[in-house]
């Protein structure tokens, strides 16, 4: 009997005008999302390669690593980030790394092209969030009330048909019709990727499959919810209206309100405030450095310029180290305070927003695509560990990890014999630095296991919502007046 209901449901749905129209729109937009994502990935990849080449090119004229003041490292685009943007367009793709100190991150996509910030990108996550939920609502809003209005429910239940079988068949049949059609569209979209020159790694495939699974679970939530609401009303118009209100709240209101509420509940030290406090300390430290410079006492013969240069450099280095260390510990404390505040705020915002399954979809897919809110911190952490490598490299090449900066060149104090040698050397063509020696930055993305671990809460929540609404539909239909 269950099979009969499932078959009927699938056949009834796929032959209906509403299915043809909504599926057509959904499939078209899913394919468009893949196309847009693939095209954008290719563009971002070209941009990434060009930026890296430009960075190396800018070093070509250098004859000494001392001339290198900073190095630019870049966040490589990934195919999945093009399908599920997450925060990848909001954060910068370039980090400016110096031997020490803070690492500014620049060149965010939305900063470069603000128009995209207004309308955001048309990515797979957006299509899933908006269209799959609507598609599910359109398939489910009249599942029960519509059958009652049409009079088919009464006729069906004039037979020895258990209610549980009927509602189960309805849910399975509707979900099958929805998921099969969505999977067909996704399959077409996925096939476009290799055709447009993108090859996904094994890990990417696993992540993509999990993203699709999250999308289907999300659609399932709205489907079971729709059947549940449909089992509570006698009129499909009422059911549709209720679902539309829920949809608006889930997609547009709950996430935004949650963030606002979390922001009001948890105070986070702002970047401006940190900058203000830093500039206060910086002024104080400058005074200390000036004082320290005044206190410099040369211990040696007055004509020993080399010794003077060495001692002055050492003194300056020591003053800089003290200043940097004080500044760094102060900044670290402030940023840690800000980071802790942000984490508390984030946890509260996510906890509140997870009332909406749309939040769980956004979080799960962005974790799986490696574009979650943690991407910026991860890039920054990776940049920091690169900074250590880079600093060591500079130290090895120049004797200091500052690169460039206020250094007194030993060549300014040389003997007459050395002067002659230098004169000879000047006649030779200066030898450029070998940029290949520069340590290479390679961003290591989170592993699929880490992604799944991060996404498991939200995937679990989506499953939980499915079960809750499924149970709701089951109970409500058990009491439904089928007359």
């Amino acid at each position: 009997m269950l099979k009969v209901i499932i078959e009927k449901e699938i056949r009834d749905l796929i032959s209906s005008t509403k299915f043809i129209i909504t599926f057509g729109a959904c499939a078209f937009l899913i394919i468009v999302a893949f196309y847009v994502g693939t095209t954008r990935f290719n563009l971002n990849q070209a941009y990434y390669e060009a930026s890296r080449a430009e960075n190396i090119r800018s070093m070509e004229g250098m004859t000494d690593w001392n001339e290198l003041e900073s190095n630019r490292i870049f966040l490589a685009p990934t195919p999945l980030a093009s399908l599920v943007s997450g925060v990848s367009n909001d954060i910068g793709r370039t980090a400016v790394v110096e031997g020490r100190g803070s690492i500014p991150i620049e060149d965010s996509r939305y900063n470069e092209d603000p128009i995209f910030a207004i309308f955001r990108f048309l990515d797979l996550e957006f299509i899933f969030k908006v269209l799959l939920s609507l598609f599910a609502i359109l398939l489910g809003y009249d599942a029960i009330s519509g059958e009652k209005e049409r009079g088919t429910l009464r006729l069906a239940f004039a037979n020895a048909l258990p209610r549980q079988t009927y509602i189960l068949g309805k849910l399975i049949g509707t979900f099958a019709a929805l998921s099969i059609s969505v999977l067909v569209a996704i399959a077409v979209g996925t096939l476009m990727m290799p055709m447009m020159g993108i090859s996904l790694s094994g890990n990417d495939w696993i992540r993509l499959l999990l993203i699709i699974m999250a999308g289907l679970l999300y659609a399932g939530v709205f489907l079971t919810l729709s059947v549940f609401v449909s089992s509570l009303t006698n009129r499909s118009a009422n059911s549709f209206l209720v679902l539309l209100v829920i949809w608006v709240f889930c997609i547009h209101i709950v996430p935004r309100v949650s963030v606002l509420m979390a922001a009001r509940s948890v105070d986070v030290l702002s970047v401006d405030e940190i900058a203000f406090q830093q500039s206060g300390l910086r002024a104080q430290l400058l005074d200390e450095v000036s004082e320290g410079m005044e206190n410099f006492k040369f211990a040696g013969a007055n004509d020993d310029i080399d010794a003077l240069s060495n001692q002055l450099n050492a003194h300056m280095d020591s003053l800089s180290n003290v200043r940097d260390s004080k500044m760094q510990s102060f900044s670290s404390r402030l940023y840690e305070e800000r980071g802790n505040g942000q984490k508390t705020q984030e946890r509260l915002a996510f906890a509140l927003a997870r009332i909406s399954p749309a939040t769980s979809l956004t979080l799960a897919t962005s974790y799986l695509a490696g574009t979650s809110i943690g991407l910026k911190n991860r890039f920054q952490d990776e940049a920091k560990s690169y900074q250590e490598q880079y600093g060591s490299f500079l130290k090895e090449k120049t004797g200091s990890n500052t690169g460039g900066g206020l250094r007194i060149r030993q060549s300014t104090a040389c003997t007459a014999a050395e002067d002659k040698e230098n004169e000879d050397a000047k006649k030779e063509i200066p030898k450029g630095v070998d940029t290949k020696e520069l340590p290479e930055f390679k961003y290591t993305d989170v592993t699929p296991t880490e992604s799944v671990q991060a996404a498991v809460v939200d995937m679990g929540l989506l499953l939980f919502f499915n079960l809750i609404f499924f149970a709701g539909a089951f109970v409500a239909f058990g009491k439904y007046d089928v007359r």
Binding site: V4, D12, R150, R154, A156, F157, A158, N159, P162, R483
Partner: protein
Amino acid sequence: MNNNHLGNIKPALEAVNLTKRYEDGVLALDHVSFSIAPGELFALLGGNGAGKTTTINLFLGFLEPTEGEAIINGIVCHKEPLEAKKQIAFVSENVQLYSNFTAIQNLDFFAKLGGKKDYTKGDYRDVLLRVGLSADVHNKRLSGFSKGMRQKCGIAIAILKDAPVILLDEPTSGLDPKAGRDFIELIKSLRTENKAILMSTHDIFRAKEIADVVAIMDSGQIIMQQTAEEISGKNLEQIYMQYMAGGVFVSEVIGAANA
């Protein structure tokens, strides 16, 4: 009123003191009793709100009686609704099937719901021809069917289920005279297959024409029940029309009908 006209014949369908009071306090059925033997057609006449559809809903297990029992072949409907429904084929006032499906697809689905899984397309075509639907519409979607055609599909589904009891809820309501006549002929043919038929209707002419027993309902009670022989020769139409027009006391109706 003694509603048992069957004597020792075992009824296929039986209402025993069937009472239904809705949650809002309305007494829709008030100790209604009647029996229908296999091969017998029982017509339940009455105006809107008389309790005809409530009676049918109690047999279909859509409602639970407040008191009394609806019994089909010994099975108490509200106690074993699924078992009882295996014994019932039902045709409603306005048969609504799946408009995206063809006539054959609809028949296939409802036949399977009725537990009949071995029918072939040929069987469906035969039954559609039997109810008067020509071969050219068998594979057409129901969305283009008239009410008369849909009612015929409804009776085709009832025939396919091949249940011992058939419940007809105002099946000819809204049909044009030709379609109504065709429908009645179909019902007559079913009676010859030893089916017990309960038909609720407003249409006293058709009821008198085909029913073995006619009962008139008012305010949840059967106010008159007579066999075809008892009715024969009496001016039931006039009495019923007076009753339907209102203003006639129950006692007068009964008295006149028995006169």
